[in-house]
Subunit: 163 residues, 2 copies
DNA sequence: CTTATTTATATCGTTCACGATGCAAAAGTA
DNA sequence: TACTTTTGCATCGTGAACGATATAAATAAG
């Protein structure tokens, strides 16, 4: 069958795509009561670990583009979770810091990781495989990140050659 | 450290979320020339395997909601890849079928899976781990799917009790 | 010290993704 | 048969996600 491999590829990619979506769905029961989304929760995790960071640092830690993170932060500011102030040394920067509400949410979110872990383990009956999966996913993420940057560099080079 | 586990949870979920996004990005060089997106490519994979399916079947196979798939198909129809006709037995159904252009794209997309596989293997230097990962991801997906449905059922029951 | 380039964000347009809701057809029930 | 419920799809609103573009500030080059 000539086209047989069309089905086989998505073995991995489609499953990653699906697992990620459904996993985010599993956070809903925990995040809805707090009035936040999963990406917003990720931003909070970053800020809980270290408050007062420029947009770029947050984006970088989440492997997101700044044009994704900026509106995210604007919504979070509107929700009273963070505030964004101009940087003092570099006035281009926007320093994102937690508000009282943002700080207090840490306490409310304390048990979410534990709950999610338990849920996943209970649902799948697996734990070892997931632990084993983590460094492999890290390799994939790092590799793809590099690869994307190289594509961008290639494009920039290509663009400069055309001028 | 009381909040330590906050960091640990995302061991898995955050990595799935990130890996899925970056993997989709890796498809860009192959899908952009065809003028399609990754979710559209998935719809085509489903239709290439079996043409003429109702919206619901497609959504189900991709683990997506119909209100995600409907606009997706509308865009694909506008792009001339599929056509949507009313079902004959059940007139509520919309039967999605490939156009000539949609069928022909299969040939152009033939090598994508192979390219992606090679790229991932080359980037990570891993292959075995990914093969091993697949059934675990399947378990996770199936489990989360069940779980989400149960949440929905619970909500419906809860709603009915309140009336 | 100008001018050119890079950098940090922001804005805009398009495409998902999904909860909530609407609607008409089909299926089930009285 | 008349009524209720379910089902299949569509629409709407909101929040990502990202490419392309814009803008002002910082940095580098001349």
């Amino acid at each position: 069958m000539e086209y047989e491999q069309l089905k086989l590829d998505n073995q991995l990619c489609f499953r990653l795509y699906t697992a990620a979506r459904l996993t985010m769905g599993a956070y809903h029961p925990y995040l809805d009561p707090l009035g936040i989304t999963y990406p917003q929760y990720l931003v909070l995790l970053v800020l809980w670990e270290q408050d007062k960071q420029p947009v770029n640092d947050i984006a970088h830690k989440l492997f997101l583009e700044t044009n994704t993170v900026t509106p995210l932060l604007q919504r979070m500011e509107k929700a009273g979770l963070v505030k964004r102030t101009k940087g003092k040394e570099d006035t281009r920067q926007r320093i994102v810091s937690l508000t009282k509400k943002g700080i207090e949410m840490r306490e409310q979110a304390k048990h979410i990781p534990e709950c999610l872990s338990n849920e996943i383990i209970q649902i799948t009956g697996e734990e070892e495989e997931f632990v084993r999966m983590i460094p492999t996913l890290d390799k994939l993420i790092e590799g793809l990140k590099q690869n994307n940057q190289q594509s961008t560099i290639k494009q920039i080079n290509n663009q400069q050659l055309n001028n």
